[in-house]
Every structure is written in C-alpha cells, then in structure tokens.
C-alpha cells in the first residue's frame, strides 16, 4: 500500500516526510481554534499538536470563560469538552447557537454512549469524539469541519481524472468506466467531496455506513481495498492512499 505524506500528516510524523511541501496551512492567515477543556494536560497536548500544525489555539479552562470566548466569535472552529466545571459543554453550544454563531463545534466527551452522542449533536455540535482519542483523529475531524464541503448543486464531482455523476450514478476514471456497488459509490462520493483530507476509519464508518458501533474487524480497510482496486488499476497513478494506522486520503495524481 502506498503511503502518502501530505502536509498535516507530514507535520505529525516528520520522519515520513519525503517531499518538501510542508507549507501547511500557512498559505493564508492561520486558522483559529477555541479549545474549551478543563483538563490541563489534555489541553496542553492538544494545543501543542495544533500549534505544530499551524493553528492558532485559544484555551479556556472553564465553562464560563469558554462561553465568553465563544461569544467573541472569532474562532474558526471550537473544541468543547462535554463535562466542564461551571457551565456544561452542551449548554455552551446551545447558548452559542442561540446567538446565531455558526462556528463548527467538535464535542469531546468521556461519555461514549450513543445516546449521549446524539444529545451532543442535537445541541448543535457538528461532530463528536469520545475520550480517549488518537490525536490524529482529532486533527482529521477538525480539518474536516474547517473544510466542510459546501452543499454544491453540481451533479458531477471531479478529482483529477476521476469523475462521479451523481444523477446517473456512474463513475469514470479518464475514459475508463468504473463499476461500483451502491456502498462503494457513496464511499467514493464522500472521499471526493473531501479530497486531500485525511479521513479516519471511524469517520468513514460513521458517515458512509451510518453505523454508530465500532466493529472489531478491519471492515473499512477491506471495503476501501475493494474500492481502490477499482479506482487505481495497476498501471495507473494511485489516487487512494492509506496513511498507515490513521486513515485514507484521496488525491489527484501529481
């Protein structure tokens, strides 16, 4: 399996870097993250990691402080712990949403129950991550929130030579037709809407399969393997890349 290093992956595992394109998100002004988290150590880890990746992180250790900063509304994305001293995480999100602040919110929680997750999303959270989490998972989800695909009216998605017709539900790579099963079609559509982003297994399982439980087998890998065999033939430049232990990225061939 080809291993690719894109910017954020490169930042995370510097040893994997084999191309010089490490400009990160520094092209524009750095993205601002508001982190509302009461545990100092977790906060420090997250801040260090996000700062390394070129984010600007603002930290609030209590719910009240967090609510103030969230209302300041100059963050691009918020990470909110579910259980905070003072004000509950969900209350903050609800308050912020009532103020018509649409900043995407990632809810962090030690409560992993499905019902709790539903509550978090219903309160206005955009994504939900259970503690303990892999830092890669957190970063991948933050990036996904920041680069959320706009609901385009295009009926044809295009990444490099890859073309997906949403109306006729057909896929092509160059001139070659690709036969896809319904689920593979959804998987490819999801990846094409988020090209160049690291998509973790959990994200794919939640979004493409809609399942809330974590299967024990390497289900996503096997399905991804099948899709890849259809998209990337032996003599073609690979487009679906496996980032070892972390997830998958769809990129146009260089």
């Amino acid at each position: 399996m080809p291993t690719l290093s894109v910017e954020h992956v490169a930042r995370y595992r510097s040893t994997l870097v084999d191309d010089a394109d490490v400009s990160a998100s520094a092209e524009n002004a750095p993205m601002r993250v508001l982190l509302i988290e009461d545990d100092r150590e977790t906060a420090n880890e997250v801040i260090a990691e996000l700062t390394d990746r070129g984010f600007e992180v603002d930290w609030a250790a209590t719910g009240i402080e967090g609510l103030d900063k969230a209302r300041g509304a100059n963050a691009d994305v918020m990470i909110v712990d579910r259980l905070l001293p003072g004000v509950d995480g969900l209350t903050i999100i609800e308050a912020v949403r009532q103020d018509r602040i649409r900043t995407p919110v990632l809810v962090l929680s030690a409560l992993g129950a499905v019902d709790d997750r539903v509550r978090g999303l219903r309160a206005g959270g955009d994504d939900y991550l259970t503690k303990p989490f892999a830092i890669v998972e957190l970063v991948a989800r933050i990036e996904a929130l920041l680069r959320r695909p706009t609901e385009s009216r295009d009926t044809i998605l295009q990444v490099g030579p890859l073309e997906l017709d949403l109306l006729s539900r057909t896929a092509k790579r160059g001139d070659r037709d690709i036969e896809l099963l319904p689920r593979e079609f959804r998987l490819l559509e999801y990846m094409m809407r988020r090209k160049d982003q690291l998509l973790t297994r959990a994200m794919l399982f939640e979004e493409v399969w809609n399942y809330k439980f974590v299967p024990q087998s390497n289900l996503v890998d096997v399905h991804m393997g099948r899709l890849r065999r259809k998209v990337d033939l032996g003599d073609e430049q690979p487009m679906i890349h496996n980032v070892r232990g972390e997830g998958f990225i769809l990129r146009a061939p260089a």
Partner: protein, 492 residues
C-alpha cells in the same frame, strides 16, 4: 409515656375501629329493642289498668268494689300495683295510696304520675295511672309502677355486660395477637433487610409457605434479591474478567516499552515499539468501549425507539458489509432471506447484534470454511441464524456463551475481545428475544450456529404505539432509500 409498639400497628388500629363500630351497632340495636319494648309495655300496662278499673266499677256496691280492689292489690310481689278509692270530697275510702294525685285528670287517658303508698315506704315517681269517676260519686285510681320497665332495662344492661364486654375483649385480644404477629414478621423482615443492606446478600426474607399476601410479597422480594445477587456476582465476575483481559494487553505494552527503553538502538526501533504499545492500548480501549456499550444497552431505556424492523433488510445489509471480509479470508459466505419478517425492535441494535454474530463467525472460521446467514419463520417467531464451520462451541459451554468475556478455549487464540456475544446477548434480552447456540441443524458437520429467535410483529403489537404508525406500509420508500445501501429510515 411510650405506647407499646403493637398499638401503633395498622392491624391494631383497624381492630379498634372495627370494635368501635361493632359496639356502636350493638348499642343502637339494644336502644331500638328497648324503645320498642317500652312502647309495647306502656300500651300493655295501660290496657291492664283500664281493665282493672272497668272490673271494679262494674261492681254495683261500694263494698264489692272495695273488696275487688283489695283482692287486686293483695297479690303484689313486685310492689308495683297502685290503687285507691276516694270519696267525692277526696277522702280515701280504700286502696294503698294516700291521696288523689294532683294533676291526674278524671276519665282522661293514662298518665304518668308520682304516687305515694299509705305506709309511706314506697314512692314511685313514674307510675302509669288512670282515674275514673265512680257512678255514686267519688274517684277510682288504678296505677302500675315501672317495675317491668326497670326490670327490662336491667336485663338489657346484664345482656350488654355479659354479651358485649366479652365480645369486645375477645376482639381486642385478637387484634393485639394479630398485631403482635404482624409486628413480629415485620421485625423479622426488618432485621433481615438490615442484614442485606449491610452486605449479607445471601439472606432471604422468611416465608411460611402459606399463600397469604405477606408471604407472596416475601417470595416476590426474595426473587428480586436472587436477581440482584446474581447481578452483583456477575459484576464481580466481570471485574475479574476485565482485570484479566485488560491486564494482558497492558502488561504487554509495559514490557514492550521497558524493553524498548533499554534496548532500542535507533529511532526506528523505538518507533516500532511505540507503535506496538499504541496497538496494545487501543485494544484495551476497545475492551472498555465494548463494556460501556453493553452497559449502555443493558441499562438503556430505548424501548421508546422501537419500530417495526424488516429483518430481510438488516440481513442483506449485514451481508453486504461482511461479504468482502469473508472473501478476503477465503470463507464462503451465503445470505438467505427469501421471506421478509417484521419484528418490533430497534433497527440499529438488531443490526449490531447480527453484525456481531457474523463478525464472530467470519473471524473464527478457518480458510476454506463456510458461513451462512439465514432468516426463516418458525410459527409466530422469526429466526435469524448464523452458522459457521469454525471450531464450534462445546455443548457444555453453550450456556456460558452470553457471559462477558466468554471465549471458547479452542478459539482463545483468535484476536478479539470476547465481548461480542455478551453484546448480542444484551441486545437480545432488551428485545425479549432469545439467543441460542447449537450445532448445524440435522448434520454432524463441525462448527456451530447462533440463533436469535424473536416474536414476529403483528398489527396488534403496534396498537397504541405511536411510533409504529405506517411503519409497515413503508415498503416502497424503503426500497428506494436502501437502494444505495443506506440504512432504511424505519429505525429510530
């Protein structure tokens, strides 16, 4: 002063209330009888007096009248007879009364007057008397004292004393006895409960084998205690299991990290060890996640989200999800769901249960083996069966399968947490379905089958449940939503 304990018991209070009511009834009854007797006797006495007066006045001569009156008055064992003949000027001629009683009207109806006998010994205040005019001048008075009535009141009093008081005493004694008995049982139960609360979970409430409500309650509570004890034991067991299954990967992580710290020569060596450590930690986390999930299902109140679930859809989706895995592992995988069955349940959870069974089956079936997922009806029930040609589960261990962390020894080497079946069990229990493990039906093939058996939903299952409305009629939309393999929207 502190009243004895039993007085405060409900039984005793009820006894008091009932005794009081009983006494009041008896008194009322006696009063009624007394009043009736009184009026009857008054009429009787009046008649008697009138008769005597008539008989005396019937005599033509005064001497005969006097004689007659004397005869009447002579026999008077109860000292109740009164009578007197008076001249026109009011002087006494004969009889046993001193003078004409004032206020007694001549030739009027009977009256109640006060009379004094001539010897002065007896004065009666309430005497029924009449006065009649004597034809040759003068007045005849005939009266009768209240001896009968007094006697009657005395009899009633005696009857009350002899009848009511013992009755009341017996009633109160019974009350006290019952209260003490009830109180003793309550005290027994209390002391047992105190012991149970203090941690003696093996204690049970005393029962007498009688079918009284108290016994039934005790049996019920004991059943509850059995369940609680079993739960606590299983939790304690789970504690050990968790300790074991968490320790194993954690120990490996620890040892690996220690060795890497001492022996790693290059950054790559170290990185490799760290990767291994992360894998070990992820395994531990997976165990915790699975445990929490089971707890969530066991304690969840998700019944509200129950809808009609089309099992054929669930099976097809699970098949679609696991078919590539089976193929990768070179395990033949067949899904058979010719006839759709509808059950009442939570679609996501049922999917998770079936997926777990298939996951296990595929995992434990060696290369070249076979896994079959099928759906069929059996009477009023729907049966989801997952069969595999894996190592199987020994007959004597089949009941244990639902226990947390159970994993047959033969498959102990296969990766996995061993919580899959516990999860399935929790989901199946939540639905009121059954989970069964058996061999392949009707053959000596190696391997085993897991079956989820559940009641099929009928129209009546839905009656009164708002959530089911229209669920059955969704076939057309269902077909379109699931065309791309998305979970149908039937679930909650």
């Amino acid at each position: 002063m502190r009243l004895p304990e039993f007085i405060r018991t409900t039984t005793f209070r009820w006894t008091l209330v009932v005794s009081g009511a009983f006494t009041a009834c008896v008194l009322l009854m006696f009063a009624f009888v007394l009043a009736q007797a009184w009026s009857y006797m008054t009429v009787d006495v009046d008649g008697l007096n009138a008769g005597i007066a008539e008989a005396i006045l019937d005599q033509d001569e005064m001497t005969r009248r006097i004689e007659r009156l004397d005869v009447y008055l002579r026999v008077d064992p109860h000292n109740a007879k009164f009578g007197g003949l008076f001249a026109a000027d009011g002087a006494r001629i004969a009889g046993n009364i001193e003078s004409l009683p004032p206020g007694l009207k001549l030739d009027a109806g009977p009256q109640l007057v006060s009379l004094v006998k001539i010897d002065g010994t007896t004065e009666r205040r309430s005497v029924r008397a009449i006065a009649r005019r004597v034809p040759q001048g003068g007045t005849l008075v005939v009266g009768r004292g209240d001896y009968e009535i007094t006697w009657m009141v005395r009899s009633v009093e005696r009857a009350l004393v002899l009848g009511l008081i013992p009755t009341l005493c017996i009633g109160l004694a019974t009350g006290v006895f019952l209260s003490l008995r009830a109180q003793r049982r309550v005290e027994q139960v209390n002391s047992k409960i105190h012991r149970i609360v203090a941690g003696e979970l093996r204690e049970r409430l005393p029962t007498r084998g009688a079918q009284d409500p108290f016994d039934k309650l005790a049996v019920l509570v004991n059943g509850m205690l059995d369940e609680i004890e079993a739960l606590i034991r299983s939790i304690a067991g789970v504690g050990d299991d968790i300790a074991h299954d968490l320790r194993t990967p954690l120990t490996r992580v620890r040892v690996g990290l220690e060795r890497a710290r001492q022996n790693a020569r290059t950054l790559d060596d170290l990185r490799g060890s760290v990767d291994q450590a992360i894998t070990g930690l992820d395994q531990s986390l997976a165990i915790i996640t699975a445990l929490l999930r089971i707890t969530e299902i066991e304690h969840g109140h998700r019944l509200g989200g129950f809808r009609h679930v089309h099992l054929a859809d669930v099976l097809r989706e699970v098949g679609e999800l696991y078919e590539p895995i089976a193929e990768d592992k070179r395990v033949a995988f067949a899904v058979q769901a010719k006839e759709d069955m509808v059950v009442h349940g939570d679609r996501d959870l049922l999917f998770e249960a079936v997926a777990n069974l298939v996951d296990n089956a595929v995992k434990f079936t060696p290369e070249g083996g076979r896994v079959e997922l099928s759906l069929h009806g059996r009477g009023e029930e729907a049966v989801i069966r997952v069969c595999d040609t894996g190592p199987g589960i020994p007959e004597n261990e089949r009941d244990l399968v639902g226990r947390r962390f159970y994993r047959a020894d033969k498959s102990r080497c296969a990766p996995g947490v061993g919580l899959g079946l516990s999860l399935v069990n929790a989901i199946v229990k939540l639905h009121g379905f059954r989970l069964g493990i058996s061999g392949w039906p009707g053959s000596g093939r190696p391997g085993c089958c897991a079956e989820i058996v559940g009641q099929r939903a009928t129209a009546s299952t839905c009656a009164g449940r708002s959530g089911c409305k229209g669920a059955i009629g969704l076939d057309s939309t269902r077909a379109s939503t699931s065309a791309d393999g998305a979970p149908a929207t039937v679930s909650g």
